[in-house]
Symmetry: C2
Subunit: 654 residues, 2 copies
Amino acid sequence: MKLPIYKSVLWGLPAVVILSLILYGCPSQQNLASNEEAAQKVYVAPGEYDEFYGFMSGGYSGQMSVYGIPSGRHIYTIPVFSQLATNGYGYNEETKAMLETSYGFVPWGDAHHPELSQTNGVPDGRYIFINENNTPRVAKIDLKSFQTTEILEIPNSGGNHASPFVTQNTEYISAATRFSVPMGEDGDKDVAIDSYEENFKGTLSFIKMQDDGSMKLDFQILVPGFDYDLSHAGKGPSHGWSFFTSYNSEEANTLLEVNASKNDKDFIAAVNWKKAAEYAAQGKGKIMPGEYVRNYIDKEDHIAKTERNSEVRVLDPRELEGMIYYLPTPKSPHGVDVSPDGELIIAGGKLSTVIPVHSFEKMTQAIENEEYEGEIDGIPVLKYDSILAGEVENPGLGPLHTEFDGQGNAYTTAFISSEVVKWSLDTFEVLDRIETYYSPGHLMIPGGDSQKPWGKYLVALNKITKDRYLPTGPELFHSAQLIDISGDKMKLLLDFPTEGEPHYAQGIAADIVMKDQVKFYKLEENNNPYAVKSEEETKVVRDGNEVHVYMTTIRTHFAPDNIEGIKVGDKVYFHLTNLEQDWDVPHGFTVKGANTSELLLMPGETRTMVWEPKRVGVTPFYCTDFCSALHQEMQGYIRVSPADSDVEIAYGTG
Amino acid sequence: MKLPIYKSVLWGLPAVVILSLILYGCPSQQNLASNEEAAQKVYVAPGEYDEFYGFMSGGYSGQMSVYGIPSGRHIYTIPVFSQLATNGYGYNEETKAMLETSYGFVPWGDAHHPELSQTNGVPDGRYIFINENNTPRVAKIDLKSFQTTEILEIPNSGGNHASPFVTQNTEYISAATRFSVPMGEDGDKDVAIDSYEENFKGTLSFIKMQDDGSMKLDFQILVPGFDYDLSHAGKGPSHGWSFFTSYNSEEANTLLEVNASKNDKDFIAAVNWKKAAEYAAQGKGKIMPGEYVRNYIDKEDHIAKTERNSEVRVLDPRELEGMIYYLPTPKSPHGVDVSPDGELIIAGGKLSTVIPVHSFEKMTQAIENEEYEGEIDGIPVLKYDSILAGEVENPGLGPLHTEFDGQGNAYTTAFISSEVVKWSLDTFEVLDRIETYYSPGHLMIPGGDSQKPWGKYLVALNKITKDRYLPTGPELFHSAQLIDISGDKMKLLLDFPTEGEPHYAQGIAADIVMKDQVKFYKLEENNNPYAVKSEEETKVVRDGNEVHVYMTTIRTHFAPDNIEGIKVGDKVYFHLTNLEQDWDVPHGFTVKGANTSELLLMPGETRTMVWEPKRVGVTPFYCTDFCSALHQEMQGYIRVSPADSDVEIAYGTG
């Protein structure tokens, strides 16, 4: 059986959009600052620090990248959902479990939206969260150490895109299914894809931050089988609510570029999560099957562990009132952003010719007055005119995302017309526009989705790079552009390349994150069961076909550095402890022919790699991080004898 | 049995070095350019290009990073010796074989020295090579596409550090063992480690660039069981020779920080590779066992293949005269660099208080006059005084590496005193010195190891970062510093962070590399056996428990995007072809719970991932690269039924 194949249309863009592009043309202003001025503004002199941390998702790299703003310098990569051949995340025994899922080990993820934890609606520098889109997960990164310390999978979800957005005190982190999936009383369902309308449902998930800092999947809300795209929590007066865009309210299951672009309006789902949380606390809703894991770095021994779960509380709007409402919104809305004062709910209607802006106050009144135009699966649909605060005219083509400067202005990216448009939250008038190169998706202003944006800079995260940097063959890094928003007119300051695809980014004043950072791990607090705290404790122990090597590193030798008695067929565990107790003195370790891993060891840390030697011989090992003047001398040998050899375990140094 | 453990000494530095540090102190000059001046010099305005490509090794990341100079912007990462969760190198079926070795699949390597191909002693922009230190290999990257196209393993070697250095027309690429290993007539030997002096040998390997651009291990030269550290080929008058530093001429096998630092002098090995190549061409030497692989991207179908080899020609200096000489060199020399005119051979004696400079002319005369002070394993040792051109006094502590500006000056990094020292190739006098932050290893001047350096900039590659950037917890990126060398005094311009550990770097004028680059792959030249060239050809084919999905991507849909009939226990091969034919229109692909891979597809390219679904259900897949205004609509579903289901293969779009 072969179904008919759709013939390619020109990018699948509706005619109205193509027509608009011809009519409106592209923005023409040249807002480039003078080179002299721009150079001074982005230059961070040797020995000085950037003003802001910029946290960018790695997109299809599955990681998070850290940049300095305004210099645009890439200062670190935090591994999250993918293995990283640098520090060994996802390769070594201590971190492998972080990449476990209910589907098994997933070595490579797709990260989308970094989101800083907040206190009183302001980024507080404790944590940054990020979602995995493909195998639905939310990760928590501890900003004391810049390490991923927890990953929570989301069941009953497909494409965890509208995620992870925090409430104003990080009470909850929300996540929504992008692709609806067949959901039944018995869990995963084997149904025909064309039974979509009957069987496919979405879920909105609410993860509770517990008092001990860990994440718990508190409840899910069952929603119609649309695609849910992005989200933001309310703040101030709208605290207690979260907003999710949806598209594909057509419930198409094939060729969505056409079939999910038919309706004039889709919806923003407005969720009263406080009410939903009350229902959950009261034991309302159903406990339904749902396989998912929670991986976490154990605070005691610093080793990743996996906890498995098989059910989840699901709240159904058909049974529980007042929990969720639909706000009609043109057209296939993408981003949804809430103004710093919590009153305006702004959608990026990616196929819309205006930016629709809803009023939270009008919304609550409309709910009170039951100004409904219908209901879908128990969800009242509010009347568009009852909730609308206004529409921004001529916002550029393909408006996607909006952030704020805290000075009464909003900034929206327009993907198709490649520009950022500045408009007034008061009058909804467009005040300024600036070209970007090319096709911006998200944008980031430090604190720009919080109650108190720092403003000053805007970073456009562009999807197309082409000719912005020296060419590097068919594959190019993505391009970010730093724009000065401190004056009336936006001014382009700098192009800087970004690794992977930084779907979204968050920025925060540096001093908040700098204080109280971990600089090295205290040896006396190292509770790894394979740690050794001094060279006297080092040893090599055979246990059947397993050999455990307890080894130390310090400038500039390993102990032991000569090992004999290993045999072909053994499984050798190298447990290395870095005895250094100072900042920035890592050591590395690798052995010739290593089939699983290398190691990079921060001071005070223990890391384990497995080595299964397959060939007889004497094989060198060495330090892989140039650690001191005699680094090249930091080497050793391990002897591998035949499986039937009678060479016994022996080891030593010097 | 437990051998006695050595008690830690203060970094293992000889007393003379510590004393010198106290006596000489640290450099005091402040050569920082004014912020205004420096900012202008490093600023590359939006829309403009950097002047030079900088290729930096990723060190323990196993990759190569590409930077723009002078902006210091990280514009690309080329995966070489490690898997890369971004473009799927080492994960997808088309590239996995690139990480095969004679020890099996090695997912993570340790890259050290980028080296551009040369023509007439000048970088020509065709290829860049880089070595893997741990499991000895040399990789070739094609600078038309910025892709790794060939990796050659080196047998009879341990720690391939002095590698890969090219001769002036890239006739040969040389590589040397860093750690000597037991070598016998029968290959790998199971011997006691303390039989080191008797059994352990080194090899210097010469890889021939063949007319078709492929690499062939032509011969190895057997050398004493020292550690071989770095290398450079001769040029101009010294063309035909290559120079390798050695240390551990003490032949210690444990605690080398002490035991390999005893001799006042170690050696530079001067190899007449032209003569050795003649011997090899004449069939001289022995064919000895040595397992190694050559991996390459097949030019026909663009799929990585592995070729296995088991023997190699070894030339023994005890039997073949005139091939190799030892130049005594103080003390544990690290780098060896040849002046642009080919006359001076400069060592970085890392525990030496001077920089020893040998004369090529004097060396050839001393060979002619047989001015030997002895012989080691058939290798004549020349008299130090007979070959010395001079010594640079007060060069800083721990001199490691030297590059050249083409204006008669040399620049040497001093690791311990954290500085770069500029000195005259004419008078050997120190002309200037500049602090670096902190502890520089290699340095790079564009073309700085060639016959015609571009000069202008110098990049110090520092080993310690500490407080140079916003802190990122215990782990920090390494730090590079850009120094203006266009005037008499060096001037510090910029700090920029680098990913992994850039042991060495090479720079080249951008216009040489920019021309004739591949921007996308032509669909009509796609000979991947699983490619489909149009949506009409897409199909899903079951073959027992294997299912092959031939799928296409184009803005903005997959064909097919609905697939049924997959069963638990199947092995599904997704073969995706990106039908786009324009620059910078990649698409991505992933499916929920993917246990092996995602895909990133350049235009015209075919990539394959394997998926072994373990759970029943309808699972979404989607495009992971934001490719167009309707990217979020680029999704599909695949239905997985129980193993005993009778659902048949069906598929379609729209």
